[in-house]
Each structure stands twice: as structure tokens, then as C-alpha cells.
Amino acid sequence: MPLPVREHVGTLAVLAALTAVACLLVSGLPRAMQASFDQALRRALTTAPAVQADLTVAAEPYAPTEDLHERAAFEARGRHWREALPAALQPLVTTTGHMSAKTVRTPLTGTGGATYVNLGWLSDADRRVNWVQGRAPGPPSTTRHEGANIPLIEVGVVDEAVHQMDLRIGQTRTLGESDYVAVKIVGVFKAKDPRDRYWTHNPDVLHVTKQLTRDGTIELHTTTLMSDAGLAALSSASRHLTYRWVLPVDARAANALDVPHLSAAVEDLRRLVSVQVVSTTPHRLDTGLPKLLGDFSAALATAETVMYLVLGGLLAVAIGVIVLGVRLLTDRMDHTLGLARARGGSLRQVAGAGAALTGLAVAPAALAGYAVSFLVPGPVLLVVHVGPAVVVVAAVGFAVARVSLAHRTPLRERRDDVVAARPSVRRITLEVLVVALALAGAYLLRARGLTRDPFLLFVPVALTLAASLITLRCYPYPLRLLVRLAGQGRAAVPFLGLTRAARARSASGLPVLILLPALGVSVFAAVISDGIATTQRLASWQQVGAPIKVTSLGIIYPSLVEQVRALDGVEEVVVAQTGRVQLGYVAEYAQAVAVDVAQWRRLVAGAPIDLPELSGGTSALVSPELRGRGTFEIGWQSRMRLTTQGVIDSVPGFHTDGKFILMPLSALPRPEVNTLLIKGDASPAELARLVPLATVDTQERALAAIREDPLTGTVRSTLIVVTVALGAYALVAVILSLVVGAADRARAVSFLRTLGLSDRQARRLTVLEVLPMVLVTSLAGLALGLGLPPALGPGVDLSAYAGDLPVGDYSPDLLTPAALAAGLTVVAALGAYAHTAIARRRSLGAELRVGDSS
């Protein structure tokens, strides 16, 4: 039969636009998400120190026979490791990379263990360093020391060592305390690019390392560089010598989908390396890659869960709105199809016509949306293909079902206007079943967590559906009560409007089924997003404990504290001492923080962290692991007795787990301050310069670090996109439902106008008719959106996005959700108002005749 394309061009265009947008979102968002997951992985791999991300095969030769004295021998073994790489790792490992041989803790003879000059060889030293003084080292020779011939190796030292360790060109120094080797310093080098990640493999070469010993002296360590020829003189005999083959991981080749394979491949490689056959020296694989990947996977799993949850909601709502559009189309085709059916069209022909017209609008639009989604950068996932197909199938399927049901019998004798439809027992049973399943699912979800069972992903959907059904079923009752009240008043409009709302056909449930999830999911997204933001702030405070925290390896003397107080921007300084203390007289230790808690409380007033009060000179707050000890003795500088005043879960900025004690600083007889808690906006660089051996943490920097994580960014931006999209869909749903009921409403209004209804009354009538549904749905959607996070909270672990703190505080900002719901209601009311105002232009006769023919 001929398709009335031109007749319904407007509706078809609306349907096409809705489909194209839905397909673009459904295909594009997962791609963008996956792209950002990949980006997050790459970032995680590139920002991690190379020494963690790269694969390093290391070996300590246990006998001189196992020594490698030539570059070629290193290269041969390096090739062997590359060939042993599992297939999953092959594309990830770059062909560059380097080898090294370095000794550790090689003492400078006669320094009493205070200065260490290690021997080192880097296979790519010529590419990594510039010789700023002297020349590059040459081949080794021998020299005499204490009457014996010992090897003399030409080495270069880093420029830092020249100043700090008094090593100069031309010096020949003897190394070792019993088995000697001599080094001749022939050159001074500087890294070509000291910030290259490469140097995390060899920080000992680039910098002089200072180590504080237990007795308070400072050890200096440096690692020199020798030539390839020097290797011949480098022996493992009486030296701690380590060989390393570094296989760098190219983060650009990594993608998030491969993460599970990668972890397995690293484990394979670890096994292979430990059972290698190239040498009798045991080799091992040193890498932080599995941990990096593991941390990433944990964050990713949650991100994926949340994303697919909200995307699922978005897809459901998008399909709902499209179905509403299809309904509008089939309603408008009703006359055509009814006539065709009466004139001898079979059900298949009629349903086929409905499907064809729907398909004509939906299929090309879906294809267009699908095509445009390929402009979104990101890998192509299965859902990219399946999403648009689901949309098209849903739209065409609904068209077929609706037309088939409507025209099952050629002549319809419907008297919906006379009697209220009574729901069938079967339908009520089904609805009760859905509600029961949703509640059971929610219980399971809380009990078992979201990630273990993919079926539980449907729980939020089921809960939303259950809420929709309950709303749908229950909202006419209070309305009828209102109708009864309105009936007793004198005004006709409230009575008529509410009566029409209460008697609306059951099909008017479709907008409820769309609006409620739309609002529910968008409010859910807004609340989760808010919750994450709040928890991130809390986490940053928990991490630092004060606006600025300065921690020093040494003691910060009172004079220095006064200097800090005098710095620009410093408002207040609280001093603290941390340390490891012995509990009683046994080998049990705890971390202690001694601080004036009252001052600290004043310092962080207004921040989201909460510190309990500590009263009494020797009372202490202890971690849960130390509870129940009453008065106990500790050894910290001297013995002292502390009385447990209470239990705290964490000391913000210091300890969150294990055994810890928070005690007053005044309890210590001789406080040795090593930590400063500062309020104000002093420059961290200035503080770092002022206090020696100090690290400076600021709450703002910690917060930025938590927020900067690409996964966190993706989660939040996707939540925002989905909130906006769902808000838009909710509006479209309201407008479409207005248009769907337009003919019927126009007829009723026209009829009432012949009875003397004024234009103003007509507009109020329409608003009153639409408003109860939108109002009730808004409130139910708001309640659902606010209720979902606490209901599902224990099942969804969002801690990865909030600095590892569980996101649990979902109460806070009601503004966004309430604004969403209120905005929707207002726009719906305005839409209804405008709609009647436009309908007024039509003549009464036309409307009434339209009504007659139905």
C-alpha cells in the first residue's frame, strides 16, 4: 500500500531526529568512554615512574664465572628476553631499551662507610649524558695498591658528585674495604634530559643519594659510569653487582580492553624468566606493571559499571521517547490503516505499512547517527554496532505491535470515554512480580556488590520500572480525591481539568515510564557526581590533614618554626612530632603523632574533617587495633604512661590503618618537632626551601591530583552529559505526550468552548490536565534518583574516584536534582499552555468534525 510519507513528514522528521541523536549517543558515548579509559591507562603508565611501568629482568651473578664482560654478551641475553616475551606483551614493548650493570654500597676506601662510589655501566650512556668536563672513560688498566695489582677502571662522575662528594677529574680513588679496585675519574657528565622517565631506572647515576643512618650521620652514594671496555674489569667477586635488561613499555600501544591479558602475560614472563636456561644465575622480573594494571582495573571496573548503568538508563529513556514518537506516528496513521484494514487489507499488510513507514524514518537516521559516531575518537566496541540495531528493532517492533493490536479486528468498538478501564488480574500479577523482583534484586545487590554478577546490573533498571509501575498504578487515587473536592467547589475548570487527568487513558502511562527513569537516572547521576566531588574534597583533607603539611626527615627547631611563622601567607602553624614507638616492653610498635589537638582543631575549623577533643596531659586516642588497653606504657625517647581516652579510625594527614596513637605534644619531655601543620596560602616551594629534607603537601594539590585522574574526569563528565541528555529527553517526552493527546484534547476543548469556555479557561484546563501527571512523576523521579544511591551505595564501590575513600555521603546538595525536577514541571506547564494557545487558532467546526470521524 502507498505510504503517506508526505502526510506525516513532520512526525517522521521528529522520529528521525530522535533516532539519530539516540544512536549517536549510544554509539558515540561508549567509544568516547573507551577512548578515555585507554587514555587513562596510557596516562597511568606514563605518569608512573618508568621503573614501575617497564619490564626489567635483573640478575645478581653469584660467581665470577657468571660475569658478563662484554657488551655483546649483554645484547645476546637482551635478545633472548625479547624473544621470550608473550604475544600479548610483544606490541607493547618498544625496541629501544637499555642494559645496565651496577654495584651497590661500594665504599670509598678509608671513609668508614660514609661515602659510597658505585661502579656502573649503562649501555646507552653515550645517548643519555653529555660530558661537561674531561672525556668519556676509556678501557681499564691495572695499578698497584698495598703491594698488589688491582684493576684501574676509568670512570666519569655526575656533576653533583663533584661538589657534594669532593670527587675531581684526575683523581684515582680506591674502592672496597678488603677486596680493592681503583677508579680514575676522567670526566664529569650531566644528563642530556634529566626529566626523562628513563632516569627513574637509574636515579643513583643522576643524583648523589643521601641516607640518614640510625645514628644520625648522613651517608653519600653516587654511581659512576664506565665505558663498554670497563666491563672487562667489573666483577661480582666481593661486590654487590646487579645486571639489568630494561624492556620499556610503550604506553601509546596500550588499550584498556587488553588489561586482563596483559596482567596474565606479565605473570607468564615472570615464570619464564625464573626458569630461563641461558645462565645458572637466577634471574627475576622486576616490574610494577601488574600492580599498575591491577589498580587501573579496579578503577576501571567501577567506571564501567557506573557508565553502563547510566548509559543503560539513557538507552532505555531514548528508546522510550522514540517509542512515544512511533506512537504519535501510528496514531496519526490510524485513519489510513483503519480504512485499509476495512477495505480488505490483511493484518500483515497493515502492520507492514506501519513498520515500513517507521523504518523509513528510523533506519536511515540510525545509520546516520551510527556513521556520525565514527567521528568520535575511540575504539569500536560491540555495543557501538548493537546499540543502533536495538533502537531500530525497538522502534519498528513497537510500530508492528501497536498497529497489530489496534487493527486486530477491523472495526473497533472502544468506549474508553464511558468507563474507566479496569486492570486485568494478569497485569496486576505481572506488576507485583516486577516490584518483588526489583526489591529482591536490590537486596542481593546490597549484599553482594555490583561487579560479581552481571545480572545485578539490571537491578537499578528493575527498581526504576517498579517505581514507574507503582506511580502509574497509584497516582489516579489521590487525584480522584482532588476531583471530589474540586467537584464541590464552584469553579468548573479545576473540576474538568482534574477529571480529565484522572480519567486519562491507560496509554498515558507511557510518558510516566519515560519521565520517571529520565528524572531518576539524571538525579541519580547528579547525586553520584555530587557525592564524588564531596568525597574527593574529604579525601584530600584526609590525605593532608591541614591546608599545608611540611614533613621533615630531620628535626625542625623552634627557630625554624618561627621563620616559617614569619613567612608571607602563613596564618597559623601547629607543630607535631611523629615517630615509631614501642608499646610496653615487647616487640610491638605503633605509629605515634604528638600534637596539640586543640590547636589543630582550630587550624582545620570549617574543613570536612573532624578531630575529637583530647583532654588531659597524658591521655591518648588510639586506633581500633589498640582499643581496650586502658592505661599503657610506650617507649618514645623515654618511657611514659598514656591513658586511652577514646578510639579514632584515622588521624587525618597521618594514619588511616594499622596501629597508631594520637597524643598531646606536651606529654613528651623533649619534643623534637618534625612536622608542621600550616594554615594560609604560603608558597610550597618557599617552605621546601626553608625547611631542610622536607616534603610539602598541600590540600589543594592533593585534591587536584585526585581530580586530575582521567578516569575520574570521564566518570564525572559522562555523568554530566547523561544528566543533560536525560533532561532533554524528559522535555521531549512531555512535548510528545502533549502532541499525542492533542487531537483528543482539542476536540474536548472545542466542545467545551461551544458551551461557553473562555480561551483563558481552556488554557488553564490543559495545564491542569497535564500537570498532575508531570508533577507526580517529577516527585517520584526525584525520590527515585535520591533513593537509588543510598539503596545501591554499598553495592557500587566508587572509592577509586574519591582518593580511595568510600563514597557514602549522598545527602548533600538537593539544589541540582530539585532544579531538574522543577524545571521539567515548569516547562511542561508552559508547553501545555502554549499548546492550547496555538490550538485556539483552529476553527471550532474543523475540530468538531475531526472528532466525529474517529
Binding site: M1, P2, P4, H335, L339, R343, G344, P410, V419
Partner: protein
Amino acid sequence: MNPTLSELEARAARKKAAFGGDAHIVCDNLVRIYKTEGVEVVALQGLDLVIDEGELVAIVGASGSGKSTLLNVLSGLDVPTAGVARVAGMDLLSMTPRDRLRYRRSVVGFLWQQTARNLLPYLTARENVELPMRLAGAASRKGRAMELLELLGVDSCANRKATEMSGGEQQRVAIAVALANSPQLVLADEPTGELDSETSELVFQALRTANRELRVTVVVVTHDPLVSEQVDRTVGIRDGRTSSETLRREDAEGRIIAEEYAVLDRVGRLQLPRDFMNALRMERRVRLELESDHIGVWPTREESSDEQ
């Protein structure tokens, strides 16, 4: 003498002559009850009707008398609750949905009162006529459509859409649509309800043309008693039953004579016209007397009870 068992069996096995015989349309004790949410509406309460092939019949009755329900039953759009409804030998009560579809495609054509409802507004007249043929999958549609439009005198409208035609033209095109698949029966529900008398005349002319030229049985439902002047036979319906018939014939001088008859049903029931009863104040019961060539009906009188 009492009949023997074998005689009774033979009598039971013997087929009675069916009501209406092999007439084109037979309705026997037809009942249609609508039930919506517990409210029952009896639209047809045991209606009897026989229409022969090639007849042009009007069914008249007041609003709510059940005439549209009858038409919907006859057009295969609605299924009666009980009784017999047979059209062209097909039993309308026992048809499968597939039979019903075939019936609507090839046995019956119809038109509604609203001119706009008969035609798809976005198709031209010719395309509208072709639509039922397309639905039935018939070939050579174009020629047939033009033939029908010519026959009904609306060939000039072939390429015009419904909105570009007058009401009368639209109804005549609608008749062509109804005739598209060469049905044996055309049913029209108030086809002139929205038209003035002059245009109505044209539409009836077209129906008569279809009836004469194509040998199609035509049943017109209307509440307008004057339509009886346009058709051979008028059947009146009251309260879901046939009550009267008016036959129209030409006398020897060529004048048209319309004679009204009361309908006698199969068990001998008869509806007396209400004005007859009022004139003679007939109430509750009447007296009947069998004469040699007629039956006399007398109102009951006081003295008659005295005579008893």
C-alpha cells in the same frame, strides 16, 4: 395413531427448508449484544431479513434502532452474537479471520456517511480506487479504476485528491472504491447524510447504476424515510427488529406506487404501525378474525366482554 420410532427418526433426519432459501442475504433471528464493563446493549434482538441477488434495498430506522450494527455485521467488520447471517452462501458467524479478510476483499464493498472517512486524503481518486485492488494483490488496476470512475461519471476527478472534490464527487468516488474488487454486495451507511438533496440524487443515481450495470446487490442504511422513493424495497427497523417493508413498483400507467407492508416473522409475529394502533386505541390485546381472504384485527371493546 402414534408415529413409530422409525417414522420419528425419518422425520428428524429430513431437512427442513432453510429460512430464506438461497437468497443472497439471509439474516435469521440475528442477535448482537455489546458488552462493555458489565453494561449490555442489545443492538439487534432477533432480526430477520432476506434480500435477493441484484436487489437495491434501503434499511431505514430511527437513531439507535440497530441499522448500523446490521450493516457492520453484513460487511464482515463485526461478528453477531447469535442467530444466522449468511451472505452469498457464506456464514458470517463461523468465518475464520482469513475467510473474513477474503470476504471483505472480494464479496463486499461499502461506504460510510462521512465523505472524508471513505477516501485517503493524500491519494488521488484513481489511487483511492486502486487501493483495495492493491491490498488484494490484483493486476491491471489502472484500467479497472478508470472504467469504474467513468461508469459513475467522475472520471474527470481521477487525478484529484479528496480535498479538491465536492462532497457528491467524493461519495461517487467512494462508490467506485467499494466496487473496485467487483464485489457481489455494496453496503452504504447513510451515504447521503452529509449531502444536499440534489447531490444525494446523483449519488443514488450512481448506486442504481452500479446495481443495474454491474448486477451488484446494494443495501443502503438511512434514517431518511424519503429514500424509499429511490430504491425498490425499503425495510424498516424498530428496536433491533424488522418492522415494515415498503415495495416500490410502477403501475400500468407508469406511475410509481409505494405500498407499505408489515413484516410477518417466522413464528407469525407482526408489528402493527404505531399510528394505526393509536387511531383505534388498540392496547394490550386485539381480537383477530379469520376471513376467507384476510385476517381482521379488532380492538377489544367493553361489550365484547359482556357478550362472553
